[in-house]
Subunit: 390 residues, 2 copies
């Protein structure tokens, strides 16, 4: 079933995860060549099979585009982990696995008889990863979490929004996605240690911790400035100019990260005197006078439209770009050249374009993506493989 190739060829992953954080982690592993067996609840499967948007098929029926996006390259088997026959199948799969990934709330695996201590005693080389809202320890360990909750509690939302306005949610589920990425990093680290130790580890990744790890300089600003940073719209807190600017038609981003680039910018917009204006003589001064600078820059940018300015500023060696929506992104030549949008076959016909794997290896073509599986699609093949076939 797995004609793909990648650096993780030969790594066997049993995947109990649902929704987004866990499936994103195992998607990354599968993209890199690991074989991922997605174990789903009988009849209903992963919750996101019923989450929109849906692709309606001419032949009737529908496919969740949400599910399809993060479950390519996986094999599916439906197992009831409370039923004895299915438990035997699950245990045969785990016996062959290098990695077991789950994102239940802490304690659920133990109640099923598959807690870390028991699994580690029986399969000392197995790596287990638990991805949860708040982690396996601490006072919040039992609490429910979704992306929105950890974005809000971590302060990530408090930094995001219009200047002076209320915080907004980051428009992608960064709470889930970051946890999935940290999960994949932890799993690979444990596999690398196992090469020497011959022993597996239990990776414990929390969505909440993952958001704290993305706070970047906000924690430092809190401590140095003595107050919590607030939303500032499209600006960067400590680099200027680094924001969205209106042109005659449309807006562009300009990110002039140092004095040399700022000087080139002033030349390119035909306002060379700005570079010698005392208010704008250093990055710190430009940040202090960001409003005055914005007015000057936007006045000059009235000379052309967004597309023309992007072309001119790129020629001048200035970091800039259009403010794209995802429709404009889809048509971007770099996205095409990097194969970052890949058509995936759907089980009932048709295709859905999904994001390609962002981890490329020079001189290698990205592996062909396999479709997301139908629920229980690979049962017969998997049972035959583990010697439990009918």
């Amino acid at each position: 079933m797995n004609p793909r190739r990648g650096p993780l060829d030969g790594v066997f992953v049993v995947d109990l995860t649902r929704i987004l954080a866990g499936p994103y982690a195992t998607m990354l592993l599968a993209d890199l060549g690991a074989r991922v067996i997605k174990v789903e609840l009988p009849l209903q499967g992963d919750d996101t099979r019923e989450v929109g948007p849906f692709i309606e098929h001419e032949t009737g029926g529908r496919t969740s585009a949400y599910f399809t996006s993060v479950n390519r390259n996986k094999e599916s088997i439906a197992l009831d982990l409370k039923a004895q026959a299915d438990r035997a199948i699950f245990e045969q799969l785990v016996a062959r696995a290098d990695v077991l990934v789950e994102n239940f709330r802490p304690g659920v695996m133990g109640k099923l008889g598959y807690g870390w201590a028991a699994l580690h005693a029986k399969h000392p080389r197995l790596v287990m990863a638990s991805i949860s809202g708040f982690g396996q320890t601490g006072p919040y360990r039992e609490l429910h979490a979704y992306d929105m909750v950890v974005q809000a509690m971590s302060g990530v939302m408090s930094l995001t929004g219009p200047e002076g306005g209320p915080p907004v949610r980051v428009g992608v589920s960064i709470g889930d996605l970051a946890a999935g990425m940290f999960g994949a990093i932890g799993i690979q680290a444990a596999l690398l240690e196992r090469v020497h130790s011959q022993l597996g580890k239990h990776v414990d990744v929390a969505m909440f911790d993952g958001q704290v790890a993305l706070l970047e300089n906000a924690l430092a600003r809190l401590q140095v400035e003595g107050r919590a940073p607030q939303p500032i719209g499209t600006r960067h807190p400590s680099i200027t100019p680094f924001s969205v600017f209106r042109t005659r038609a449309g807006s562009i981003v300009i990110a002039a990260g140092n004095d040399a680039m700022f000087a080139r910018l002033c030349d390119a917009i035909e306002r060379p005197s700005l570079a010698s204006d005392a208010r704008f003589a250093s990055n710190a001064l430009r940040t202090q006078h960001h409003e005055a600078l914005q007015i000057k820059l936007e006045a000059a940018l009235q000379a052309h439209d967004a597309q023309e300015w992007v072309a001119r500023l790129r020629r001048a060696g200035i970091a800039c770009g259009p403010l794209n929506d995802v429709a404009a992104l889809r048509d971007d030549p770099q996205v095409q050249a990097r194969q970052m949008l890949v058509p995936l076959a759907l089980p009932q016909g048709g295709t859905l374009s999904v994001a390609g794997c962002p981890i490329k290896f020079a001189g290698e073509s990205p592996p062909t993506l396999q479709p997301a599986p139908r629920l229980d699609e690979h049962r017969a093949a998997l049972l035959a493989e583990i010697g439990l076939g009918a």
Copy 2:
């Protein structure tokens, strides 16, 4: 110098990266136990040593909190890669390295004589990772990029902002951070493949690709709905209720991801009739009538303040939480319990609390974090180690 322990113990990384994306990748590797030698420009060092916020020392001088945040656990040596004596030192370090990481623009390493083909011929086991704005291939490969540029071009900003309003920047540098995380994943994958192949690979990660890989269901919605999704404030596009809600004092987030949790929510706020209201009978219907539902919920939430509601809803098993700023986050008991804020010693005295490593291993204490290095701090020790000591 490296008393830490972690799964990547024994992995030797030579790190040419500056600013944020590359240093975040190598910070993750160092947090996991790898030994990271940060090679910096003589005299000035990493650009972010001069980026604020700064901690002013009583003894005079200052330390960049920005630099400190992402360069803990690393050793520093200042080398001029255009000077023959320093090149010899660099080449000795590379000869011992498992991994070389750089985030120059494509082509710079080749001009220095350290392109992938040359390094791979000389050191076939070396893994090299190049983290750049747009990648090593494609029409944009030579263009400058900063976080802001890839957030804007990828569409991530187009999904983030108040409903009906202009897009805003995600308040953390997710363009850089995601690229750093994908870089760490690619490096570890290459190290795992090397166990079998005995050969290194060249990992090619682009900040732009990394943002596309985070678009999640926005790409699916574009294709299914035929139009590009726009900012929707604090709501989730396809799950309701999943947003920020005003209480009598303060706001909270509530994320009721399924019908059972919605029913528990209606009970907990003493509005059980909402659960049987035909407009709110399914997630799809609740999403369609989200404005009406928001009004009903906020009316009920007027009964108590934010803190009281969080306590009540948690007791009822509903995913919810306070809308924290980073000052509130700092005092959160789960952050303390998970050791997600760790005091780092500063070279001139004092401490700065930085985010801990979000990749935990059950039963193991997080490793002690070492301070970020002073520029060239480890030159003498490194020269002695490679046999070039004075």
